[in-house]
Symmetry: C2
Subunit: 434 residues, 2 copies
């Protein structure tokens, strides 16, 4: 493993390769993400409607609210403060209000969810990156749900870290017995000691839009504990605020007794549920020593996230308007989800053998094609969709291992209603012509 | 080297160490940056005046300008665009205006300084981080000026990369003969092949506030070329816009024929010369394949910098007000530099044997103490300053190797004039009592 990771370059002149560019093991591993080609299609073919892009809906981005807040922030005598450098950990006021907000969810433990263990990042993605960077070496293993967030898989690939799927039953719940068997198998193979963390999405997961039940979370903790694996557990809650009706009632791992003794990291964001372009995300951990390492890493990397967007979000929280904003956002996306669901059903996609559950939150639909239909990039169905002018995320990209070839991910985020309807009809047309 | 970098953990149970936290080689290497304690002093002791902090001056942060721009951006019908996600590379319009701005400096080559080879980052620090990450493995070497940017040294330490000082004569110019000898020595030691990049600051360097002459840049290129070292050269121009009177006339390495065939990266920012809290920095490279690698790395790390601050800077550039803003900023800092210089001289610091050159740009004074005076943290002089209520950056922190113990770095950025005067008087008091 070491040899692969760090080729010995000492005997090679740097000028002999790639015109003077002699990449690190990390640099050499980096590949074009599988999703890049897909995501670039709409800019080259504007007639194509994208159900692939994970954008939020421009119609509900808070332009007026941000303008008002900036006007107040920059208008007062200490207005320059928000345009000055901040700290690597992020604004204290924002951390306090963030911790208070997360702790306000049903069942959360305010003694664990603390401002001094919260750090502000450039989207929650950066918090995830920092966590991985201080934990994982090439050759290490991270447990992920199957399916999981495909950008995370790409991050792990770059790091030379192997994702291993946490077994999940057909209904989406964590399969404790299969996980148990997997642990035993990894132990036999000498790989158990390389497992550095488990990564789960408890709320409207990307791509499945499923939530983890209390039992799922208990099963995961108990199974890991039974195998002596008191490893860091990272709960990505990026979509938690996007509940269509009421918040999912299961507390985060931070507040569950079952996770006593585990290093924990909760990832949250204001990017999806508030102002996407401000890119204010955060992490909350129960371990000061882990936090310190992540902050040292962040300090070296960017010396702290932009301070101005943090000041804007802090003011919005301070004004007390955030909870209502989030409720209205849930209603908006809930209506879009009902719209997409109804068009797919009206067009008869279910009767053609496609299966899906209408989500209760988030931005994504996760559909399984009928037996024998391949949905991967370049497949007959994929090309048929492209010819009709619609694209989706092929589900196989979202699996750590054992990827099935028959899932697709659709996003309700970016397209306005009439285009969302049209995109759904095009997709159903393609399915009908198979 | 490989063994040190990646301890074999396969036989060790993850739960046995540090309460479940089993860090990566990188995580294990991370240390408290030497500067952290120093930088935290003013928050715990508000009576202490900091000449250490690298902040900009609140008095010249553009609160009104930003408020006006945001009002227009968020007020127009497509206002939500700037609150949506952007791309990993950054806004096209901002990249175009940035490339045009850099190319407008005397002697720069607009054919090399191109928007499609420009990428927007969270401060120029992140561009530097991405460059290092795709180039350097633990055990590699990066050439830096002596002295150099201490945060970069901390970044290299975290990465396990060894900085080696580019020999510099007493007058600050690059010493070609000494560099030549160093290359030969590294070749004999088998370390030459591990040199992955050279990092220089051509304009008002941190901490020395020196600019590189055309000859300095030619000597560096010629010496490296003579040794077959066509390695990446990174020019950090973070302070370039902060010229007090007129811009330093030497073009960047991007535009010099002497660097033909070298992979080049120019680092710039709007953080120091415009709105610090927006944290909009950028890199410009001459190598598309290097750019692609850095963008893949950035995609995994944060999926693109915050879009809203980019839109603000783009609008300011579009409005055409940036060049005048920068000229006024130079006048402001120039006046502060004259003030600090005059107080230090009025207090007789030069007559006490301290040496410095009044800078022509940037935010920093770089002073050498008289023979025998130790300025390092914990030294008699350092403690005397602290007792008087003033702190500085001990110069030894800014050296890659062979650090002298008698330099200090003072910043004119953060303190308003009356406090800057007072801080200077306290420093001179401490020097007088030695």
């Amino acid at each position: 493993m070491q040899e692969q990771a760090f080729p010995d370059t000492s005997s090679r002149d740097s000028s002999d390769r790639d015109g003077g560019l002699n990449y690190s093991a990390f640099g050499a591993r980096l590949e074009v993400p599988a999703i890049n080609h897909l995501m670039s299609i709409p800019s080259e073919h504007p007639e194509v409607l994208s159900l692939a892009a994970g954008f939020t809906d421009n119609a509900v981005l808070p332009a007026d609210l941000v303008r008002d807040v900036v006007s107040r922030l920059c208008g007062n005598p200490s207005g320059a403060d928000c345009l000055q450098y901040g700290t690597t950990q992020g604004r204290k006021g924002l951390r306090e209000l963030t911790a208070r907000f997360v702790a306000s969810y049903h069942g959360e433990n305010a003694e664990v969810i603390r401002a001094d263990r919260t750090f502000i990042t450039n989207g929650s993605q950066q918090a995830l990156f920092l966590a991985m960077r201080v934990l994982c070496d090439p050759g290490d293993v991270v447990m992920v749900e199957n399916p999981t967030y495909f950008v995370f898989l790409s991050m792990l690939q770059g790091m030379g870290v192997q994702p291993v799927g946490i077994p999940v039953a057909e209904n989406g719940s964590i399969d404790g017995m299969a996980l148990d068997a997997l642990m035993r198998q990894m132990d036999r193979e000498g790989r158990k000691g390389r497992i550095k963390a488990a990564y789960v999405m408890g709320y409207y997961a990307n791509p499945s839009s499923r939530c983890l039940s209390l039992e799922d979370k208990m099963v995961l903790a108990a199974t890991l504990r039974r195998h002596g694996m008191r490893i860091p557990v990272i709960e990505d809650a990026a979509y938690r605020e996007l509940a269509f009706e009421r918040p999912w009632e299961v507390p985060s791992v931070l507040s569950l007794d079952a996770y006593e003794g585990y290093p924990l990291l909760y990832l949250g964001t204001y990017t999806k549920p508030f102002a996407t372009g401000l890119k204010v995300g955060y992490g909350i951990t129960n371990r000061p020593e882990w936090l310190e390492k992540m902050l040292f890493a962040k300090g070296n990397q960017d010396f702290g996230s932009a301070h101005f967007p943090q000041a804007i979000v802090e003011q919005v929280l301070q004004d007390g308007v955030y909870p209502e904003f989030v409720r209205n956002l849930g209603l908006h996306y809930g209506a879009k989800a009902r719209l997409l669901d109804s068009v797919l059903r009206a067009e008869g996609l279910d009767r053609m053998g496609w299966c899906w559950a209408k989500p209760d939150g988030g931005l994504l639909f996760w559909l399984r094609a009928p037996a024998g239909v391949d949905t991967r990039e370049g497949s007959h169905f994929y090309e048929a969709c492209l010819a009709k002018g619609v694209i989706y995320v092929p589900g196989n990209l979202c699996f750590a291992d054992g990827a099935p070839s028959d899932y697709i991910r659709l996003s309700i985020g970016a397209l306005p209603n009439e285009k969302l309807e049209e995109a759904a009809r095009r997709l159903c047309d393609a399915a009908r012509n198979l």
